[in-house]
């Protein structure tokens, strides 16, 4: 500044005008005061005036000088005012003519522009220098060349650059479009600046225009800043609003996605497949190039741009990111071997992933830097917000893409995620956002950038992070960073991590049902969740989401009880890992428990599972849950054995109150106890003991063994659960069998039951009251057996006074050996009734032809049972039907082959069987009909049919069938029909 410039009074009218004009930019037609000038001897009047070029049609580059006398120069040393004025106006004219922009768009790059544009003539240079060195005190477009230039730039930008940056509604390659636009804008900006620097403000570093241009950021010239600000605001204003945001969002999403390693077009996954990565790497590079092929031209302009602009942001960052080893070097400080190894591995991986990622990252930074320079990135809030949205979306996408369904254990997901957030995402955000912040504050505009380049800041933050990790809290102030900055960055990073964990948690909560089903392969998923459920809200979210998933996916009629139980067992295990207190388990299992209680076969399935070792071989099906037997074997977790008294244990130093979110009926359980959870489904223990007894009796009676160690073990284990008294029945059952073995041997010896030619007989003597109810319907056993039984009875009654034996003829097994003419048929485990039936055929010579009713009469056996027995022997090719329901023995197999009416026989059998079932059904229906009509009065057929829905097992008859049935009842006099209704006949 020319300090010797003295103040002078401004005429009143002028002062007002200036105030006015400071608000409203003067138009071309306005009259202007004479510029104030300091005397200067340096301005040499050019010997010859350049020919007057026709002024462009625009604006106010010509100056109007209304009156020379208006403002007489106050300085005495000056040449005559007229001379100054003439000189000035000539200079003005020369300068503005030279500096105004032609009415066409700019070439592709600054370099091109620099090459093509003509250097100013000496006159012009002098004129400009004259004008710039003689600053008027009050700058208006008419007095200050800078102000004029600003206006000129604005005009040119709006008229010629703006139309070129419109965004079409549809575009294919967003990135290239954005880059093209940014390229145009940057070129325009740099040209504007170039001219500003070169000609208008070159004062201090005269002759070093180029250099000056390069380091504009270091310039403390407030004028340049003002110019840039004004230019940027115009640029920012001229961008089409929603379209621009959308474009930037999309491009950033794509590029940042690639940069942070999202599996997109290039699927470079994490650590595992190092071998493959090599190929992948090269693949993706080429792919990358393909993608950006179309952009290369505009990229070129970028490159030139960076060249010109030197080391502002882009290059610096490029280096910083390009060599992660640079930064890792800081770590080597610590000299932890292991860490070093890890680092080495990381480095290796990084290098492998580096290329496509780095490319994208560099591009992002390029774009961001360009945007920032143009004031549309960080400078405007818009850019930052869009970027934040991008990061937000990326976080979710990354988590979903990388961690969905990844449940391996021990879970590395949390660490991976932290690492990713800290090193990849965080780094990207730091790189991008850091530079922008500084640009925001007007005073620290360049200062902060200068204070801390992104690389340094990154280094500093990394260092402080590392320090923190090592436990050392001191902050490296040598990097020149305020503690505040680091803190904020650390806080940011921490909050990002929290957000990331939250997102991961949400993902896992959504997957929780699958996690439970896949248990225990999905342990890792649960581990991830543990870091999520740390607040009541997240816990609530988990339970509600999971409960609704349960009810939609599991708790419906289509799911088998065993599947539900299996899921419940997994659920117990998974949630015990997830939340050892059991509060969450308590909450989510309520629904499933309620549902299980409603299922009728729950008890059966569970007991079969628990006693699966005792089930006869070959009867296992998908319904069974053999794992329950193992669970039972594990016993009861120690803490539970104290029972409900735990709360009263005053010596329990580790006692803690129930968690705050525990429900009212919450019962703490410290250990995993699957069986315990299942048997607490019902308060009553009877339910269980009954079923256990049923299974046990089946097992004890179903085999001819005498030793039942497994069963004894199971029962003992169950005693732990249910208590001695509850399991007493089962105890007695086991004891009965053991006793039977002894008494059997004893009685047989006493009564000399081992007789040649007679079958052997062994008994199991059961204490009737303690066994499940058995079918007592007996039949006439063959005489030989009857004799043996009677002798056995005697033996028993002498052994145990006052006790009586009741034979359960239908129970038990018989080893049958049939000697036929051509073969011997052996059946080691026929039932007693099967044996009795076949015995009839062989008993008497007089007849070996029997019909089923005759057999039934003879044996005093139920017809259905006889029928089953006959069928059994038919299937063994021992019996055959010879017509009219008469059966006989097949003595020679050739007979069977000769005439094989077996087929018809079998079908006839089946029909018979059906009618047998039907008979039972008919009896029930009849009872219901009678009951209904007795109490409800006369009813039409439809109503009867409807009311019969109450019949257990459902009522499947059609109306015709029912009508027929009622007619039959009518013929038997049980009902009568009158006036469309059926009723009971009056007595």
């Amino acid at each position: 500044m020319a300090t010797f410039l003295s103040q002078h009074p401004i005429p009143y009218s002028q002062g007002r005008k200036r105030i006015f004009e400071s608000v409203f930019p003067p138009s071309a037609s306005s009259t202007l005061p004479t510029p104030l000038a300091t005397p200067s001897s340096s301005f040499v009047i050019p010997p010859s005036q350049p020919p007057q070029t026709p002024t462009p049609s625009h604006g106010y580059n010509t100056r109007h000088h209304p009156n020379v006398t208006l403002s007489p120069a106050p300085i005495s040393l000056a040449p005559s005012p007229a001379a100054i004025f003439a000189k000035e106006s000539r200079a003005w004219h020369l300068a503005t003519t030279y500096l105004s922009f032609p009415a066409d768009p700019f070439p592709g790059s600054l370099r091109e522009y620099v090459q093509t544009h003509q250097d100013p003539t000496r006159d012009v240079v002098e004129a400009i220098r004259y004008l710039t060195t003689h600053h008027p005190e009050d700058a208006t477009p008419e007095t200050s060349l800078l102000e004029w230039y600003t206006c000129e730039v604005r005009r040119h930008f709006l008229a010629h650059v703006r139309p070129e940056i419109s965004i079409p509604t549809e575009y294919k390659d967003g990135a290239s479009l954005l880059e093209e636009i940014l390229g145009r804008l940057t070129t325009a900006q740099s040209i504007y600046l170039f001219r500003l620097r070169t000609y208008i403000i070159p004062e201090k570093k005269k002759g070093r225009a180029r250099r000056n241009l390069d380091s504009w950021d270091e310039s403390d010239d407030s004028k340049v800043q003002a110019f840039v600000r004004s230019l940027n605001s115009i640029i920012s204003y001229s961008l089409p609003d929603p379209a621009w945001n959308k474009l930037v969002y999309e491009v950033f999403l794509e590029l940042c996605g690639t940069a942070v390693g999202l599996p997109g077009d290039d699927d470079v996954d994490d650590d595992d497949d190092t071998v493959l990565d090599d190929e992948d790497g090269s693949d993706t590079i080429s792919g990358d190039e393909d993608v950006y092929h179309g952009v290369r031209l505009s990229q070129q302009s970028f490159v030139t741009e960076t060249d010109c602009d030197g080391d502002i942001v882009v290059d610096d960052d490029g280096v910083a990111i390009g060599n992660p080893r640079d930064m890792d070097g800081i770590d080597e400080f610590g000299v932890y071997r292991q860490r070093a190894e890890e680092k080495a591995k990381e480095k290796k991986n990084k290098r492998l992933e580096e290329k496509p990622r780095e490319k994208a990252r560099k591009k992002v930074l390029d774009i961001w830097a360009a945007m920032e320079k143009l004031g549309v990135g960080g400078g405007g809030r818009r850019g930052e917000r869009v970027f934040a949205e991008v990061i937000n979306t990326l976080l979710t996408t990354y988590i979903n893409a990388h961690f969905a369904g990844v449940w391996e254990t021990p879970s590395k997901v949390g660490d991976d995620l932290n690492h990713w957030v800290e090193h990849v995402l965080g780094q990207l955000v730091l790189d991008v956002l850091f530079s922008s912040k500084s640009a925001n504050s007007p005073e620290g505009w360049a200062a902060r950038l200068k204070k801390l380049s992104p690389r340094e800041s990154f280094r500093a933050s990394r260092q402080s992070l590392d320090n923190r990790k090592k436990g050392a809290m001191e902050v490296d102030a040598g990097a020149g960073v305020g503690e505040d900055d680091i803190k904020r960055r650390k806080e940011d990073l921490e909050s990002w991590k929290r957000i990331a964990i939250g997102r991961l948690g949400r993902l896992r909560v959504g997957e929780l049902f699958d996690i439970v089903v896949e248990w225990p392969e999905s342990l890792g998923g649960v581990e991830d969740l543990r870091s999520y459920i740390i607040s009541p809200q997240t816990r609530l979210h988990l339970t509600t989401t999971f409960t609704s998933a349960l009810s939609t996916r599991l708790l419906h009629p289509a799911a088998a009880t065993s599947d539900i139980l299996r899921a419940y067992i997994s659920l117990i295990r998974a949630f015990t890992v997830l939340d050892p207190h059991g509060v969450l388990l308590d909450r989510v299992s309520r629904g499933i428990r309620r549902y299980l209680r409603e299922r009728d076969d729950t008890v059966r399935v569970i007991v079969r599972g628990i006693m699966s070792e005792s089930l006869p071989d070959g009867t296992e099906d998908a319904e069974d849950l053999p794992e329950l037997a193992q669970e039972l074997g594990k016993g009861i977790p120690a803490t539970q054995q104290s029972g409900g008294l735990e709360e009263l244990d005053y010596d329990d130093l580790s006692w803690a109150p129930d968690p705050v979110d525990a429900g009212p009926e919450f019962r703490r359980s410290k250990g995993l106890d699957v069986v315990g959870s299942l048997i607490s489904l019902w308060e009553s223990k009877e339910v269980w003991t009954k079923e256990v007894a049923a299974v046990l009796s089946g097992r004890l009676l179903g085999s001819d063994e005498w030793l039942f160690e497994k069963e004894i073990r199971t029962i003992e284990l169950l005693k732990l659960r249910f208590g001695e008294t509850t399991m007493q029945g089962c105890d007695v059952m086991l004891k009965d069998i053991a006793d039977s073995k002894r008494s059997d041997g004893h009685i047989r010896a006493e009564e000399h039951l081992k007789i040649e030619g007679f079958p052997e007989i062994h008994t199991k003597i059961l204490s009737r009251l303690f066994w499940p109810t058995m079918k007592e319907g007996g039949f006439q056993v063959p005489v030989e057996i009857r004799e043996l039984q009677e002798r056995y009875e005697q033996g028993f009654e002498t052994l145990k006074k006052k006790r009586k034996l009741t034979w359960l003829q239908t129970m038990g097994t018989v080893e049958v050996e049939l000697e036929l003419e051509d073969r011997v048929v052996q059946v080691p485990d026929a039932t007693t009734w099967q044996a009795a039936v076949i015995h009839q055929f062989g008993e008497e010579e007089r007849s070996n032809k029997w019909t089923i009713p005759r057999l039934a009469d003879n044996l005093e056996m139920e017809e259905s049972l006889v029928k089953k027995a006959v069928q059994f022997w038919q299937s063994k090719d021992v019996l055959k039907e010879i017509g009219n329901g008469v059966y006989t023995v097949i003595e020679n197999l050739e007979e069977l082959e000769a005439n094989s009416p077996a087929q018809t026989g079998v079908t006839a059998e089946e029909d018979e069987e059906v009618t047998d079932d039907k008979k039972r059904e008919r009896m029930v229906v009849e009872q219901f009909v009678v009951g209904m009509l007795t109490n409800g009065g006369a009813m039409p057929l439809e109503r009867i049919s409807m009311m019969l829905g109450l019949v257990p097992g459902g009522f499947s008859w059609g109306q015709e069938e029912l009508r027929e049935f009622l007619s039959r009842m009518k013929s038997e006099g049980k009902v009568e029909y009158e006036g469309g209704s059926w009723r009971i006949p009056k007595a």
Binding site: R597, V603, W682, M932, N935
Partner: protein
């Protein structure tokens, strides 16, 4: 309908003891079981069946026991089961006009097991049997119908006449 029949089916199986559990389901389950028992046992002279398929509302029929004034007469009743049945007794009313010392003119019955002596082991069958025997052996110490109580011992003929008069109302 499907659901209830299904549970009735199972109640004869392993899940039978679940009927003693509390809960909305258990009432209908219990009544299903009782219905099935009642239908299958066919005790002569008594019968009951849900009205209109509503399990908590039954209609019952009792034949007057032989050797009593009620011989060869049929009486209808309604049984309303509370939702906490069998913890509380059902409400039983004669719908057929009744002439009996322990039944009032609107059919209400004074019987201890339907009041304070109720126990969950009683069921429809035992209620109906009790009522049937009540017809033959009224408790004249606490009559609801004083006239009937008086006539029961003093004038069986008049008793029978009034009974038939009353019963006739039903026929008309």
């Amino acid at each position: 309908m499907d659901q209830s029949t299904e549970s009735a089916n199972a109640s004869s199986g392993p899940g039978k003891s679940t009927t003693t559990l509390n809960g909305g389901q258990s009432v209908s389950k219990r009544l299903q079981t009782e219905l099935m028992q009642l239908m299958m046992s066919t005790t002569p002279g008594i019968s009951a069946f849900p009205t209109d398929g509503n399990l908590q509302h039954w209609t019952g029929t009792i034949n007057g026991p032989e050797g009593t004034p009620y011989e060869s007469l049929t009486f209808k009743l309604t049984l309303e089961f509370p939702s906490n049945y069998p913890m509380a007794p059902p409400t039983v009313l004669f719908t057929t006009p009744m002439f009996h010392p322990n039944v009032d003119m609107s059919g209400r019955i004074c019987l201890d097991i339907l009041k304070d002596k109720w126990s969950a082991v009683y069921n429809v069958q035992s209620i109906l049997l009790s009522l049937q025997s009540l017809l033959g052996e009224p408790n004249n110490k606490s009559p609801l119908n004083g006239q009937a109580a008086e006539l029961w011992d003093k004038d069986p003929k008049e008793y029978k006449r009034l009974l038939m008069l009353r019963h006739k109302e039903a026929e008309d």
